[in-house]
Assembly symmetry: C3
Homo-oligomer: 262 residues x 3
């Protein structure tokens, strides 16, 4: 695995077009975060065009944060099209275990073998059939509690699984890494987890999924640390965070990343 | 009624999970405002899960700002489930009188007896069957013009009714209060009224609805005053407002609240 | 044609109510941009009320950024109602050529003769049946490449056509103008193009479409220049941009506008 700055440089050079089927709360933030990072986001979720869009996009993200009856089909169609074309797709199982509707949706998408799955501890545990202490989109469980669930999911679906929290955990079922970047204020801004999923997808275009995910998390967490140092609350944090994503250099990232093989 | 800081302290200690069925314009702002205040927002509006979500949430808000044909049923189902469980729900009748579609929707929801109704003067007058001078989501009528309508609605549906504007008016049909906090620039940022509805719901969890509403409005208006003092326009206002919601202490609130029994 | 400050003054005095049927990514930004500029935005897109809303609004915008099956009918109904009432409507053909679904939607709306069409070079070329190098919502083509397409569309549909980019191009098929205001960082904030469409519509209420469009673009670009001078990235740009839209005076605009007859 190269240093994270290597993957950031490549992502920015590619400026990949990433199709996002996401929830209404996060659409705008996700687009702004991805633009600031250097990617090119496209929010295309209609049943009529989701699969067709997969042909022009270089990666796909699917987020079940505010699902409705229609979008399950669009999600599955887009995931299948993307997978068939050999492009990466990232699954974000927001509040996966909260309602039967979401459980059913997740059960429909997982067999399509996401390249990467990114969620908080409670969501990853719910996907693996474990009942945790999650509540809505909040993680009620520590990252450590979800490590076995993450490894099991990774092995079952051939995915890289990222459990994000104070110290992130990333695994492909065999190799695992911890990433200790990030700040406590980040969950006080809505949809930053969803937006991270888009950044992970952008890093994963033409780059190995495990290394790309680790690098994306270190990059995101570092931008959070820079913003937290100068902010005065969640309003100014959000502004400084976008600026930091935009201005952070690969060299800076290499010197701040806290990545450990586990 | 205690001082408003009392209810703010209790709300933050509870960090209540509030389900919001709201419009697409306000979803993100509402979530950020509620997070900054100390609550835990969940945006769950699908027909398939709205009612089920009501079981895990501690309060519900319903906003008809960008309705579509499906969401009326989800709204009614969630309101019924929440009411049956004895949890508070808050109705936000955005642009209630603007189109026949919204009038029909409001007529369907009011008989489900919202715990609290929060709107501007024109919206409250429209709910009470009075034709005012409202235009879209803008209030065309002064708060004072809606006091009788507010009292009538409160009596008819057993609700607390809040008319927000330069000086807010809150009534349960018997007791009434005026809250003189807030700033003229607030309507220049979209969805701050919608977001307030979420804060009111968070305050109303396990607290008496009338006092909780009054405290929430004083808290919100005070944060607006703090932000207005340092902002240079609506862009920086929004940032400072979120920071102020996050940083405002109960003691500070008690000293700045302008609450009068009417 | 008067100086642009003339049209800004009139727009602010009228504070026109503009109905917007737009995509979910841009709704919030568009509303905030329009409020900061001095207009009164209303986001009403339901099939059930889109046409009825056209009666109370003074202008309409239609944006196909995140279309779904339902909204095509709502768009057409609203456009027809607005046109019949002699009010202006502005068409924003986001990513027009990206999928068959969008091509079909655009083909349905163009014959309803938009007062103004605003898009980037690739979108305008796609509308005119030319295949450019666009990718999602990004322009892959320079503004100059779309001038003939813009003139052809303007003539065919009796519309004013605005191609926005580093130097904007506006034409009614006969007269054409270039507007050289704006900043390179603007495409790094999502939905600023969509939001501009709303500002154009506000300017076009009771003002000649060609002059109103030219003035709106100069106003928007100047606000971008002011914000770019003090920002430190796309996060702070967005904040300063809203403040600049709010604070920019007609006199200031007249002195900064870079408008050339072509």
């Amino acid at each position: 695995m190269e240093k994270p700055g290597h993957y950031l440089t490549a992502m920015r050079a590619a400026a990949p077009l990433v199709q996002n089927i996401t929830n209404y709360v996060s659409m705008n933030v996700m687009a702004n975060v991805m633009l600031a990072a250097g990617a090119s986001p496209a929010m295309a979720h209609a049943r009529e065009e989701a699969a067709e869009f997969a042909e022009i996009a270089q990666a796909l993200t699917i987020n079940i944060g505010t699902p409705d009856s229609d979008c399950g089909d669009a999600m599955a169609a887009a995931a299948q099209a993307t997978g068939r074309l050999g492009k990466p797709w990232v699954f974000d199982p927001v509040a996966a275990g909260a309602t039967r509707f979401r459980v059913t949706l997740a059960d429909k998408l997982l067999p399509l073998k996401p390249t990467i799955i990114r969620g908080n501890a409670s969501e990853i545990m719910a996907l693996a059939g474990q009942s945790g202490a999650g509540r809505g989109a909040d993680a009620g469980d520590p990252v450590a509690a979800a490590q076995d669930a993450a490894r099991a999911l990774a092995t079952q679906y051939g995915s890289v699984v990222a459990v994000t929290g104070p110290v992130d955990f990333v695994t492909d079922g065999t190799q695992s890494y911890g990433i200790a970047n990030g700040e406590a204020i980040m969950p006080k801004v809505t949809a930053l987890g969803c937006a991270l999923t888009g950044v992970v997808a952008a890093f994963a275009v033409d780059q190995p999924p495990l290394a790309a995910t680790v690098a994306a998390l270190a990059y995101y967490g570092t931008a959070g640390e820079i913003a937290a140092e100068v902010c005065q609350g969640p309003g100014s944090f959000q502004m400084h965070f976008l600026d930091a994503l935009y201005n952070l250099t690969p060299e800076q990232l290499d010197s701040t990343a806290k990545i450990t093989a586990i």
